[in-house]
């Protein structure tokens, strides 16, 4: 196998897949850092985002307009879910919220199945053959996926490092009691967390739908790789989630070279187990933002 083949059929798909995982993993890691629980409805929230974008696209909006609109709508829905279901569990043991998020996942999936049905859908009919740049076979949508991830991470990092509210989020993640004592409004910080997590989660769903098809189970299948990515990078670290996502995506695609194809789905699981055994804090020593 030559270098180009390795790049075209293993590395590039791995990076695109990894970007999609990373967008979801950022949300998972942010929610864990600030609210301290694992959000199991993240995959199905991504499905909902993908289908909201489908509705907008079918109503005539170009995807470039539909994407930000979807992110905003899904962020609103995420806030609504938090206010409606998670808020009053906040003082109870966290495991109760984790379990309730599993219930939310089933509810969101049921809504998607009732509204849009269970058939596979696409944003546009037909197939798109990749462009060839210096022997590399890349589709526009794959470039968009990578570019969006990079832009999202840069903006998010700047926001967390420089802005007042970004600093407040980091303070909450570092020590919630101290943050409350110094006058940080925790309700606003929580809302902000859901806006960012919900928006990025919707984007990961839209990009998954754009690169493959939209199915009602699409997000659920992404949940394990997204968690593996967050744990691999170090829970609570945004750049860790990105790194973790890319590594998990690449590992899944490259695993086919050495393992039979049916074990591809087990890669994320293997990475998750291995990291928890060897280095539970993750590659970047996660814990706080």
């Amino acid at each position: 196998m030559d270098m180009l083949e390795l790049l075209n059929f293993y590395i590039i798909p791995g990076l695109v897949l990894g970007s999609i995982y990373a967008l979801g993993a950022i949300g998972i890691t942010l929610i864990y850092a600030i609210l301290r629980y694992s959000h199991l409805a993240h995959g199905d929230l991504a499905t909902l985002g993908a289908f909201i974008a489908l509705a907008l696209v079918q109503a005539g909006a170009p995807l470039l307009v539909a994407l930000p609109a979807t992110m905003a709508l899904t962020a609103l829905i995420a806030i609504g879910i938090d206010k409606g279901f998670y808020a009053h569990l906040r003082d109870r043991p966290k495991i109760i919220t984790v379990m309730s998020s599993l219930g939310i996942a089933l509810m969101i999936r049921a809504v998607v199945q009732v509204v849009w049905g269970v058939d596979a859908e696409t944003y546009s009919r037909g197939i798109v053959r990749p462009e060839v740049y210096w022997g590399l076979r890349i589709k526009d949508r794959e470039l968009w996926t990578l570019a969006f991830l990079i832009a999202a991470v840069v903006v998010l990092q700047l926001f967390l490092a420089r802005s007042k509210w970004g600093k407040a989020m980091r303070a909450m993640s570092d020590n919630p009691n101290l943050a409350l004592l110094s006058g940080i409004d925790n309700r606003k910080v929580i809302m902000l967390t859901w806006i960012i997590a919900g928006g990025l989660c919707a984007a990961s769903g839209v990009f998954l739908g754009l690169n493959t098809e939209l199915k009602s189970m699409m997000g659920w299948g992404m949940l394990l790789p997204m968690f593996a990515a967050a744990v691999l990078g170090g829970v609570g670290r945004v750049e860790g989630a990105v790194l973790g996502g890319l590594i998990v995506g690449l590992a899944e695609e490259l695993s086919v070279l050495v393992l039979p194809g049916e074990y591809k789905a087990a890669m994320a699981f293997a990475i998750l187990l291995f990291m928890l055994l060897v280095r539970p804090t993750g590659l970047l020593r996660g814990k706080v933002l």
């Binding site: 196998m1 083949e5 075209n8 059929f9 293993y10 798909p13 791995g14 695109v16 897949l17 999609i20 199945q113 049905g117 269970v118 058939d119 596979a120 859908e121 696409t122 009919r125 037909g126 197939i127 798109v128 053959r129 990749p130 076979r137 589709k139 998954l208 690169n211 493959t212 098809e213 199915k215 009602s216 189970m217 699409m218 659920w220 299948g221 992404m222 899944e252 695609e253 490259l254 695993s255 086919v256 070279l257 039979p260 194809g261 049916e262 591809k264 789905a265």
Partner: protein, 400 residues
């Protein structure tokens, strides 16, 4: 005085018995199908076809002593867990006398092994095609109105070889359906002198299969044979293979014969795609069913509708024959369709009911075939190779 009291009590009892008769419970048959999951697009038509059989029974005097026959729909989700859950609910809570379904082989194996065989409930699957089902230790309670994939895999291999496909790669879904079909295909294709240059299973619902496809194409095959579902992962694989130009020609099993292919990929891109699928042999019974299903608003060309209808109608006949006794349904199923006795066509419920009442033998001639079950509860089948033309599947050739 005593006699009067006795007469009064007797009268009261008689009145209670009379009053109770019309309120006798409906007879329920479970309709387990993959309502959600990878074959969700096929399931509604299959369930409608089975319901048509029950509607005909109810129109023509009902079952047993004029009771209503009701189909209890359950979602087997095309997975072993879903199949077990749905079968448990149907058997233990709804109290069904027999089960039509589940639709997917994995669900059939799980539901039979853990629920219906221990309970002694007869099960007829209209679409569970895995060769594994033949070998199930089922105390003769599991039947199917669809032929085993062992036949389909071998017929497809022979047809492809005849039509000049020499070197193929096989991608199959890692479940009972995909594995069974792929193994039967590979054995026969190699026996016929063809070369299988790539043979790999894959898991469902991954976002990218390009590395799998690159691996498969590295053997130098120009044809990809996909044993998967056209509403599920099969669609993703076909799309990525087309987009990246991995193979020139594509072949699918019956699971790939889904409208989703041309709806999502466009028929212009699918000129080199063919799929095999069981077809009803041309018969009066098939025409009768097609007319009735069309009149009920269904599409008689949809996949597995005739087998679904036959499964439901056969079970209704068996329940009638067994007098409503759950334990006797499986044995009665063989009696109503063993090639001996007065022929019964689809929809001829009143005639069948009268003959059963007289104690005469009947033989159901189904829309999808005669259904004379062999020792494993299997039926032989006929297949055709389909291609996509415009926005529909059309027959290329019969498969032998």
């Amino acid at each position: 005085m005593k006699t009067k009291a006795l007469a009064l009590v007797g009268g009261l009892m008689a009145a209670t018995a009379l009053a109770a008769a019309p309120a006798k419970a409906d007879v329920k048959i479970g309709l387990l199908g993959g309502v959600s999951g990878p074959i969700a697009a096929m399931a509604p038509a299959m369930i409608d076809a089975a319901q048509l059989a029950f509607a005909q029974v109810n129109e023509q005097g009902g079952i047993l002593a004029g009771e209503k026959l009701v189909g209890v729909v359950g979602d087997s989700a095309c997975s072993p867990q879903g199949g077990t859950d749905a079968a448990t609910k149907a058997v233990n809570i709804e109290g069904v006398v027999a089960v039509v379904g589940p639709h997917c082989s994995g669900a059939v194996l799980a539901a039979a092994g853990s629920v219906t065989v221990p309970a002694g409930i007869a099960m007829v699957t209209p679409s569970g095609t895995s060769p594994e089902i033949s070998g199930l230790d089922d105390k003769d309670t599991v039947f199917r109105t669809v032929p085993s994939d062992d036949y389909q895999g071998r017929a497809l291999a022979r047809t492809l070889k005849e039509q000049g496909y020499a070197k193929v790669a096989v991608a199959y879904l890692n479940n009972d359906y995909g594995t069974g079909l792929a193994n039967a295909f590979k054995a026969e294709f190699e026996a016929q002198g063809g070369e299988v240059a790539g043979f790999a299973a894959h898991e469902a619902d991954k976002a990218s299969y390009r590395s799998n496809l690159a691996d498969l194409s590295s053997g130098g095959a120009d044809t990809l044979v996909i044993f998967d579902y056209g509403d599920g992962t099969g669609l993703t694989i076909l799309r990525q293979a087309l987009e990246n130009g991995f193979f020139e020609k594509f072949v699918g099993g019956d699971g790939m014969k889904s409208d989703a292919l041309f709806k999502e990929l466009g028929s212009d891109n699918l000129t080199t795609f063919v799929a095999s699928s069981p077809v009803g042999e041309k018969s009066d019974a098939l025409d009768v069913f097609n007319e009735a299903f069309k009149a009920a608003g269904g599409d008689p060309d949809a996949i597995f509708v005739n087998t679904s209808y036959d499964a439901a109608f056969l079970l209704a006949l068996a329940v009638e024959k067994a007098g409503g006794d759950k334990a006797g349904v499986a044995a009665a199923l063989r009696e109503v369709s063993n090639g001996e006795g007065e022929a019964i066509l689809p929809g001829e419920w009143a005639k069948a009911k009268a003959l059963i009442a007289e104690g005469k033998a009947i033989d159901y001639k189904g829309a999808a075939g005669d259904h004379n079950f062999d020792a494993n509860g299997d039926v032989p089948g006929t297949y055709a190779l389909f291609k996509i033309e415009g926005d529909a599947f059309t027959v290329v050739s019969e498969m032998k």
